[in-house]
Amino acid sequence: MTTTTTTITETGLWQAMVEARAFDQAMCRHNGHWHEARGEEAVFVGAFAELGPDDVVAPHFRGACAVALQRGSSPATLAAGVFGTDASSSGGHWRGDICPAPGPRSVGMFSGSLGTSVAYATGAALHLSRTSPGAVAVCGFGDGTANSGIVAESLNLAAMLGLPVVYVCQDNQYATSLPSAVALAGERVSDRARALGIPATDVDGNDVLAVRDAIGEAVARARAGAGPSFVHALTYRMGGHYMNDPETYRSPEEVAAWAERDPIARLQDQLVARGELTADDATAQVRAADERMEAIVAAAKGASDAALVRATSPYAEDLRSAS
């Protein structure tokens, strides 16, 4: 069993959420194509916080940049990837918003088509089970994505083969305009996993500690060779599906009610109450993160894409010999 797991403090989790939101909000200001993740930080920060470098991540697209940040990507490189400019790691060939740091330990969306990344994570887990016992793949996907056929197929395959993978349904209650309460037939989406014999938990997705604990259990099970798990984290998309979403499909009251349950404020209140953080320090840290990300994203937005070189072959060997 590998011991790559790092332990992050509760303050560290709070900081990761603050940083995630700072990047996210800076993108909202500067990028009309951004998909805002405000309100959902507890899910993706909690789900991916404790993984090590040998583990594979396949986060949901909403929050994917935050996961890359957490795993050490530079925000400037990530921002360049989102804008598709010179400093991007893909040389402008790829949309850096939805799979910001592709690599052998980070598999994600490779077109704009949802669902497949759940299979990729499952396949990565198969690879891990053969080559790195103790390593695990963690895979996030939205409530909407949960309905696509390849998700059902992948879960069945993982259960059948006992693969070390943790599925995290980031249920922000909407697939664009369609409420998950309507689109996800049945009482609980986690029952779909249970029906396959996959241990499943339902957690408050606005409570980062609850998410971390649920994932921790699931990860431990996977590392021990006991197969896949499923975590359903109920949260809320505080912003629109994308910038300028008219949001005709939900009421301002509903949005306001969920704003009361902001995951960052919630943990912050706990930390302050416990004396692990002062309100002033929290405000200062938030401001510092916001300012840092604002500067990085603004600079990235203004950066040039003049030096990008267009690949004219899709084949690995041609791309390598060209570079």
Partner: protein
């Protein structure tokens, strides 16, 4: 007559069909109260939502198309708004392999009158540009239409809904919300018929989608040099109107095909095969102007270098026109 964008014309054609024929219904993601991705179903929810004929679907494209195939066999005339053409890749078994084969398998006794709408093309919506048109052309029985004017958008949508075969309607995102133009709701356009968008005598430029618009602009540039290009809007990518293209090119003496789709498969390759394959020698040279055989790159600068520009088309036309007409150069 009223002035519409292409997007409005498609919605109008659907609304008219739904009013006239209760067997028409619409399924898609976010097509209800949301009004459709990029307003693709604007107003239809208000008119037909209460009748259960505008159905918001979960993310399950294979089942969206699969249920439509079953409903069509049973007697409905469903329209599936698939949002983006790249999602067509999720539906090829029910749509291409099976739905398009039912009429053939039953010798026309059972049909699948189904329309699948799909947005594609480079442009305002960063990402989701792939048309996957080569994949569509790989399945016999599937018709593929791609309007470039509000009138064609209306008439081809209506024709697609009336057709007894599965039809994919490719809606180019750079054209959908372009200029409004008069639309005559009584005008029929047959699926399978190309159209001469601009007459000319010196060479033929065949194109579809955004490339038609760019070809027309290139033709204006060329006209300034005294070269009169005829622009053929393919409109129907399957079946292809090879006869019209051939006749035009035989008249003008040269054929330039400008396409946004990948080489190796798609309308340009299909056209070449149809023109060339009968063992006769072509009386005119052919030049294909297409993106390289790669996925669509993301960066704005790369994307615009990827797709033929107005200048690329004009340059290729000049080069093709330059050799003395009729000479065999090889």
């Amino acid at each position: 007559m009223s002035r519409m964008t292409m997007s409005e014309a498609i919605v109008a054609a659907i609304a008219d069909a739904m009013t006239a024929d209760p067997s028409v219904y619409l399924m898609g993601q976010d097509i209800g109260v949301f009004g459709g991705p990029m307003q693709s179903t604007k107003g239809l929810w208000d008119s037909f939502g209460a009748q259960g004929r505008v159905i918001d679907a979960p993310i399950s494209e294979a089942a969206m198309v699969g249920t439509a195939v079953g409903a069509a066999m049973a007697g409905s005339r469903p329209i599936v708004d698939l949002m983006f053409a790249e999602f067509l890749a999720l539906t090829m078994t029910p749509l291409g392999l099976e739905g398009s084969a039912v009429a053939f398998r039953t010798r026309g006794e059972v049909t699948v009158p189904l329309v699948v709408r799909a947005k594609c093309g480079v442009g305002p919506h960063r990402g989701h540009a792939e048309s996957c048109v080569g994949m569509l052309l790989a399945f016999p029985g599937l018709k593929v239409a791609m309007p470039t004017t509000p009138q064609d958008a209306y008439s081809l949508t209506r024709a697609a809904i009336r057709d007894d075969n599965p039809v994919v309607l490719l809606e180019h995102m750079s054209l959908l919300h372009g200029a409004r133009a008069e639309v005559d709701r009584t005008l029929d356009v047959r699926l399978g018929a190309a159209d001469i968008r601009r007459p000319g005598r010196d060479l033929t430029i065949a194109a579809s989608g955004l490339m038609v618009q760019r070809a027309v602009r290139a033709a204006k540039d060329l006209a300034a040099d005294g070269v009169e290009a005829e622009v053929v809007d393919l409109r129907s990518l399957a079946p292809l109107d090879t006869a019209l293209v051939r006749a035009s090119a035989e008249r003008t003496g040269a054929l330039l095909v400008a396409e946004e789709s990948w080489p190796g498969s798609g309308p340009a390759a299909a056209l070449c095969a149809a023109l060339l394959g009968d063992g006769d020698r072509l009386g005119f040279p052919v030049r294909l102007l297409q993106p390289p055989p790669t996925p669509v790159p993301f960066a704005a600068s790369l994307e615009s270098a990827f797709v033929p520009s107005v200048a690329d088309i004009a340059d290729a036309a000049r080069a093709l026109h330059a050799p003395v007409k009729g000479t065999v150069t090889a």
